[in-house]
């Protein structure tokens, strides 16, 4: 698989109701959604959360396949935490016992919910990045964090850095691909050997990549200066963020869901 096939968190342009929401609404909703996920405790609350996620995905028209594909890279972590929970949860109903491992019914439930929680957490955040262009996302973050300017947090600079980083990820991935091919053409071997050999083998890839990244940064800085960039002061924006009725309704809905799940979860449902 070529590196460029990875579409991790890549924006899917579209015009669904989810796409059209204000990025700030989506950011707040994702935060509320994550809070709710941690408040959920049993089948009822998890079912509600799954329904929230399912409906959101359906409305966004993002193909389910893309969301599932996004889960692939984190599969290892998911399995790992699941196993940890499976074996190390103390409980009364012992299902299997061998050597030092004990699997309890509580452990099974806990591992199951843990897996569901992580997957839903990731799917939810992916839905945010899939439906919000990185520019809007950074705009939203910048706007939400604006109050922090008062305590001298360089909000604009941070947002600019983030959006430039997002802009250059595909370019650098492509470049990595190219340099890898070029070094493989000279007999470099990135796939075999022990850990130290492999780390050493990365040098012919990393050195050119860093040099190129610095060169790009330097050229980009000049190009930005040429286009009159002089910090956040006096800057206007092409897109003005504006909450609409749909935004208020969505926010209210998510707030209600979070409170509801919190209450239900509190009662162990």
């Amino acid at each position: 698989m070529a590196l460029k096939d990875i579409t991790l968190g890549q924006y899917f342009p579209g015009n669904s109701p989810v796409h059209r929401l204000d990025p700030r609404t989506k950011l707040i909703c994702v935060v509320l959604y994550i809070v709710a996920l941690f408040l959920a405790s049993w089948f009822v609350t998890y079912a509600i959360m799954l329904a929230v996620l399912g409906i959101s995905i359906a409305v966004s028209k993002v193909p389910l396949k893309s969301i599932l594909r996004g889960l692939k890279p984190v599969l290892f972590i998911v399995v790992f935490t699941a196993l940890l929970n499976l074996f190390y949860t103390p409980g009364n109903t012992v299902l299997i016992h061998f050597w030092i491992f004990t699997v309890t019914l509580e452990g099974v439930y806990r591992a199951f919910f843990m897996v569901v929680r992580i997957m839903m957490l990731i799917s939810g955040t992916f839905l945010l990045t899939y439906t919000t262009s990185p520019i809007l996302l950074t705009d939203g973050l910048e706007s939400l964090m604006n109050p922090l300017k008062k305590i001298r947090v360089p909000v604009h600079e941070l947002a600019m850095m983030m959006s430039i980083a997002l802009r250059f990820i595909p370019t650098l991935i492509e470049e990595t691909d190219k340099i890898m091919s070029a070094q493989r053409a000279r007999g470099a071997d990135f796939e075999s050997g022990n850990l130290i050999q492999r780390a050493k083998a990365l040098l012919p890839l990393l050195v050119p990549l860093f040099i190129s990244a610095f060169r790009r940064a330097d050229e980009l800085a000049t190009a930005m200066e040429c286009r009159c960039y002089h910090g956040g002061e006096g800057r206007t924006r092409l897109r003005q963020l504006k909450y609409k009725t749909a935004d208020y309704l969505t926010l209210l809905l998510f707030l209600a869901i979070t409170v509801g799940v919190g209450v239900l979860g509190h009662f162990g449902l």
Binding site: E219, C226, R227, Y229, L238
Partner: protein, 282 residues
Amino acid sequence: MSVIIRTDALRFAYPAAEGVTPVVLDGVSLDIEEGSFVAVLGHNGCGKSTLAKHMNAILLPSGGTVWVDGIDTGDEDRLLDIRRTVGMVFQNPDNQIVANVVEEDVAFAPENLGVPPAEIRQRVDDALKAVGMYAYREHAPHLLSGGQKQRVAIAGVIAMRPRCIVLDEPTAMLDPIGRKDVLRTIKTLNRERKVTVVLITHHMDEAAQADRLIVMAKGSVVADGAPKAVFSRVEELRQVGLTVPQTVALLWELRQEGYDVPLDALSDEECAQALYQLLQAV
């Protein structure tokens, strides 16, 4: 006609390292007239890119002066005025596109200038139409071809409404189609919008399309005039490491054989015409 950029005895040297003082520009005095299409030709390291970077105060002279629309580029308070008057496009389109969406990128300069949102929208649409990339306004730049990216970069500069654009080897990394598209865009901007164009290049055929051709070598101007006149100085150009278009090269060879052919027949038609007349005369 008024002068938009004037350099007077412009000298530039990088800080000396190990006793050698690399002089990059050595007394360059030029007037770029408003509305003209000027090409600057020279081999790598002749100082042409350094000259370009002086035209909007990215670099400041070590000696001499540069004026943009009458403003001394050393005047820090007028920096934004200078940069919005003279826009700059570089060789690698990837390294000058800031945003993930074409139209957001084109909006970058007007945003920096504090243009009201409604007007930014207008300028962005207008700039994208001017370079023929309006249909791609919602695309991600990294999925475009090199030529398309470079046209987006040009639109990003046009959106500042500059009176002059300096392009530093904008086609060096492009394929023939990309080169053709970019060159056509530049010419249209010059003709229809009266934007002054300074095109830095080492492609003879591109330089041949300008109104005025400046040839640089070792930090100085060695030839300056209409492309036809400059290209007919075949030996001088070869001495400074440049070639001439194939048409001129052929006519020059024939002249060496003692035939009376004009040396200023640059285009296909002119060259064919010149050969036709030569052959008819026999």
